[in-house]
Symmetry: C2
Subunit: 147 residues, 2 copies
DNA sequence: CCCAATCGGTTTCATTTTGAAACCCCTGCA
DNA sequence: TGCAGGGGTTTCAAAATGAAACCGATTGGG
């Protein structure tokens, strides 16, 4: 479910990139979602993995729940956060950020974690394509602005 | 060229997602890169399109240049910023964020800008795949941590 | 049953970041 | 020569962040 904009003040209301950045483009939200990809996660698990301050984590979890990206599991006494469908759908964006980081944010030979499938093989590199299947880049595309 | 880490204090040094977020995961950097995708852009063009404060824009442009994502064009009196290869390579990540926004950050029927190829056809949806070509999701992948 | 530990926070307060506005220098040009 | 941009920096107030203390509800052990 999308926020309607009545309660928000978007940086650039017509741009999907800007809206996404408004929703998850801070220091912690995407890392919270990244960790939640591994399964239901408790408050203290997030704390331990991320080292984020309690009040900030509390606030981010609340925001992510409000935006329909996380939900808190009703079952279980030690209640946990898990991704909604919208949250799981951030997988592609996180993979894209991961792949860029692998290519450009590490020195040659510097080790880093990898994303692999159930057989342990690395995930293929994402490649934007046109409807016909031909690769596209920033140079061969344009943003059609809406009036 | 990648930052080596000597001058930085990464949130999660081994995670490419976290490093990418450290580099461009603030309120403005990705939007600056998004705009730069359309071609060389001047300081005041960024200002006009983004409405960002001068000092913040100044700081972000410097950071992006330092990180090898933008360079300032040597030619031209009215000097401009343009993407390096590493900057252009953020295209995929921006497309992924855009597509998530299109799916989840707009109410039904609410208009938004679109990314189209040179023939005006929308770009196809990104879909992570294993090496064999089979689709993968957060549930069918795992992060192989590095020791 | 009572005590202590753990979980999941909130509150408080200092530090950092952000943003608006004023100011500044340089270049082109009328 | 003067003045209108462009491309910033400086200053200062406001907002976000983070560390630490605090707190109530569970839970597990003696």
């Amino acid at each position: 479910m999308a926020a309607t904009g009545a309660d928000r003040d978007w940086t650039d209301p017509a741009c999907p990139v800007a809206r996404t950045v408004d929703l998850v483009g801070d220091r912690w939200s995407l890392l919270i979602v990244r960790d939640a990809m591994e399964g239901p996660t408790s408050f203290t698990d997030f704390r331990r993995r991320l080292g984020v301050a309690r009040n900030i984590l509390s606030d981010r979890l609340r925001r992510l729940v409000d935006h329909g990206i996380l939900r808190t599991s009703p079952s279980g006494r030690r209640h946990v956060y898990e991704l909604t469908e919208a949250g799981k759908d951030l997988f592609t964006a996180i993979v894209a950020l991961r792949q860029w980081g692998e290519r450009h944010a590490f020195a040659d030979g510097e080790p880093h974690s990898r994303l692999v499938d159930t057989e342990g093989r690395p995930v293929a590199e994402l490649r934007p394509q046109g409807q016909g299947g031909a690769p596209v880049t920033g140079e061969t595309t344009r943003v059609e602005r809406v009036e």
